[in-house]
């Protein structure tokens, strides 16, 4: 079985009396260690698909299986626990907590573990070292550039050593050089650390860093490169 398997996934939202069909009978298989770029116009369902794989939303119909866990049957608490162990999230606008230092931000996911304070701190610094920001550990997000903030966000995403990184337009708010640094970092995490990465992007240059590129349009996968996909 594939590492990530979506079978006949349908996702609808209700907007008043109207039903919005976001994803329609979508099937997708990804192997462990894949680096997938999801592209498509706004409203095509990219983020929704990302949310389903990341376990922060559940499908209207069909099944989502990640690393052997069927997410459809999980309760909210089970999903939260699963996410903390399996998924690392990177957002377009970094979403760091402004009142915490970089180190504290990175340490946040470790509060959910049984690690001791000193071990949590050590792990957080290791993650910051991985993204080359150890020297900015005591800086708050407001004191960092956009690229640096995104690297802190990536450190936060990897600190609990999840198998999957879910990145929602991670370079969307960055200049070209910072974007390249972030993409290079993601590549490193994929190639050297074996992280499975699913990245939503509008930027074709960013997508070039992925091993697989998929296009979504109106909730349907319309093009595939390298990955096992059927829509």
């Amino acid at each position: 079985m594939a590492f990530i398997e979506l079978t006949n996934v349908v996702k609808n939202y209700e907007k008043g009396s109207e039903v919005v069909h976001v994803l329609q009978d979508l099937n997708l298989s990804l192997h462990e260690g894949d680096f997938l770029a999801l592209m498509g116009p706004s409203g095509s369902g990219k983020s929704t698909l990302l949310n389903l794989i990341g376990g922060i939303d559940q499908p209207t119909a069909g099944s989502v299986v990640v690393d052997g866990a069927n997410l459809d049957n999980m309760s909210g608490s089970q999903l939260a626990k699963w996410r903390s162990a399996t998924i690392g999230f990177v957002f377009q606008f970094y979403n760091l907590l402004p009142f915490l230092t970089a180190e504290r931000n990175v340490e946040l996911p470790l509060l959910l573990t049984n690690l001791r304070g000193s071990q949590r701190k050590e792990n957080a610094l290791t993650a910051l070292r991985t993204v080359s920001l150890e020297d900015r550990a005591k800086h708050k997000p407001g004191e960092l550039s956009g690229g640096q903030q995104q690297r802190v966000a990536i450190a936060r995403a990897i600190v609990a050593d999840p198998k999957v990184l879910v990145c929602d337009e991670p370079t969307g708010d960055l200049d070209r050089q910072s974007a390249q640094e972030i993409l290079a970092l993601l590549e490193t995490l994929n190639e050297q650390f074996g992280k499975t990465i699913i990245m939503v992007t509008h930027d074709p240059l960013a997508a070039e860093h992925a091993k697989t590129v998929l296009h979504l349009d109106k909730g349907v996968l319309v093009e595939s490169e390298q990955a096992e996909v059927s829509a």
Binding site: I56, D57, A80, R83, L97, P98, L111, G117, R156
Partner: protein, 388 residues
């Protein structure tokens, strides 16, 4: 960083807002402890205990500032059921400066300590008080406060009574001290005979009577009998049990309990709004952050508990400060003779009970204002939160 540290850092993120909310709550709880304790004093009989149940108090019918004839002491002593009668007068005394007000009563030393056995005095000092024409006894706390010594001639000024030569400053000899039944009692007792002879208004008047009766059940009957005896005289009286007399005395301030309850209710309604608004604003600002925390893996109930904890800490912490400072103020008022004269000082048990109820109230307030944001946090979906 721990969960507690995270809650603390969240509170500290908007320093000005947190400080202002903290200060507002601090003042509110300071008022609550101070006024609440005083309100309790006005609503309960803190003066009369079991001993007071067997005592009646007789004063001029129309105003407590009117005197009554001293002969009433002997006449009332003859009634069935009356064991002993003593008398007191309001001297309006002060020491050296009018601002050093003293609670001073000219009394009959022979009967006073028998009617009020809860005021303890040694036989030696009592004998000296009875035998010394210008004798005076005071509680040990007052003696220490003014550094008097037994044998000192102490000038006591009066704002009411002049001597026959027109001098308002009297001289009394401190012949001993006594132990009052309650902390904070500061009454200085003067030899009545000297006061009676020397005051410019002339002899034969007393302020009010304290009547020891043989059976508390007879109280209403004896009180009615005493009032009837003088109903057609030029000096009619009213008699009541000691507790009722105390209540009537306190009632001259107005319905203090109601007034203070009103103030406290207004204070708490205000802080409920202030605290609730602060929490609501803080919550609205952080919806997206809460969505991020949920995404990372924090569960709904854990986050809800964090929000609730923040609200409780925000309420309880200033309450603790307010309570401590409020208690300090009450102690300071209690140790000031002048203030204590006009403002009944609550006993420490009342203050402590108000302090405990304040902290409990603060906790409840925190839960109340934190409940809705906490509940919303638990119910909020990540997708909605991230788009807020």
């Amino acid at each position: 960083m721990t969960s507690v540290g995270f809650v603390w850092k969240n509170l500290y993120r908007k320093k000005t807002r947190t400080f202002l909310t903290f200060f507002c709550l601090f003042i509110a709880f300071l008022l609550y402890v101070a006024l609440g304790s005083i309100a309790v004093v006005f609503s309960i009989d803190t003066v009369s205990g079991e001993l007071g149940a067997n005592r009646l108090q007789t004063s001029a019918k129309y105003s407590m500032i009117d005197d009554i004839p001293k002969r009433y002491v002997d006449e009332i002593s003859q009634l069935d059921g009356v064991e002993l009668v003593t008398h007191m007068s309001w001297f309006g005394g002060y020491y050296q400066e009018p601002s050093n007000m003293l609670v001073t009563f000219p009394v009959n030393p022979s009967t006073f300590f028998r009617v009020y056995p809860e005021y303890e005095i040694s036989d030696e000092y009592l004998s000296a008080f009875i035998e010394t024409r210008r004798g005076m006894v005071a509680p040990i706390a007052v003696v220490e406060q003014y550094q008097w010594k037994v044998g000192d001639i102490v000038p006591i000024g009066s704002q009411i009574y002049a001597q026959k030569d027109g001098n308002y400053t009297w001289e009394f000899e401190l012949v001993g001290y006594y132990t009052p039944d309650q902390e904070g009692q500061t009454a200085v007792l003067l030899q009545y005979d000297y006061f009676d002879e020397a005051n410019a208004f002339g002899p034969g008047s007393v302020g009010w009577l304290a009547i020891q009766i043989t059976d508390s059940q007879l109280g209403p009957e004896i009180a009615q009998k005493i009032d009837s005896m003088y109903i057609n005289s030029s000096d009619p009286v009213r008699t009541a049990t000691e507790s009722e007399a105390n209540r009537q005395f306190l009632a001259q301030y107005g319905n203090i309990t109601l007034m203070m309850s009103g103030i406290l209710l207004a204070v708490f309604f205000t802080i409920l709004l202030v605290c609730g608004n602060t929490m609501a604003q803080a919550f609205r600002e952080r919806i997206a952050e809460l969505g991020v925390l949920k995404t990372i893996g924090f569960n709904d109930y854990g986050l809800g508990l964090w929000i609730l904890s923040e609200a409780v800490v925000l309420s309880v912490l200033p309450a603790i400060f307010g309570v401590v400072i409020g208690m300090g103020l009450l102690v300071a008022v209690g140790s000031s003779g002048a203030a204590a004269m006009f403002l009944p000082t609550p006993p420490m048990s009342v203050v402590l009970s108000t302090a405990v109820s304040s902290i409990a109230l603060a906790g409840a307030l925190g839960v109340l204002v934190g409940a809705i944001p906490a509940l919303t946090t638990t119910r909020m979906s990540i997708v909605e939160a991230m788009h807020a």
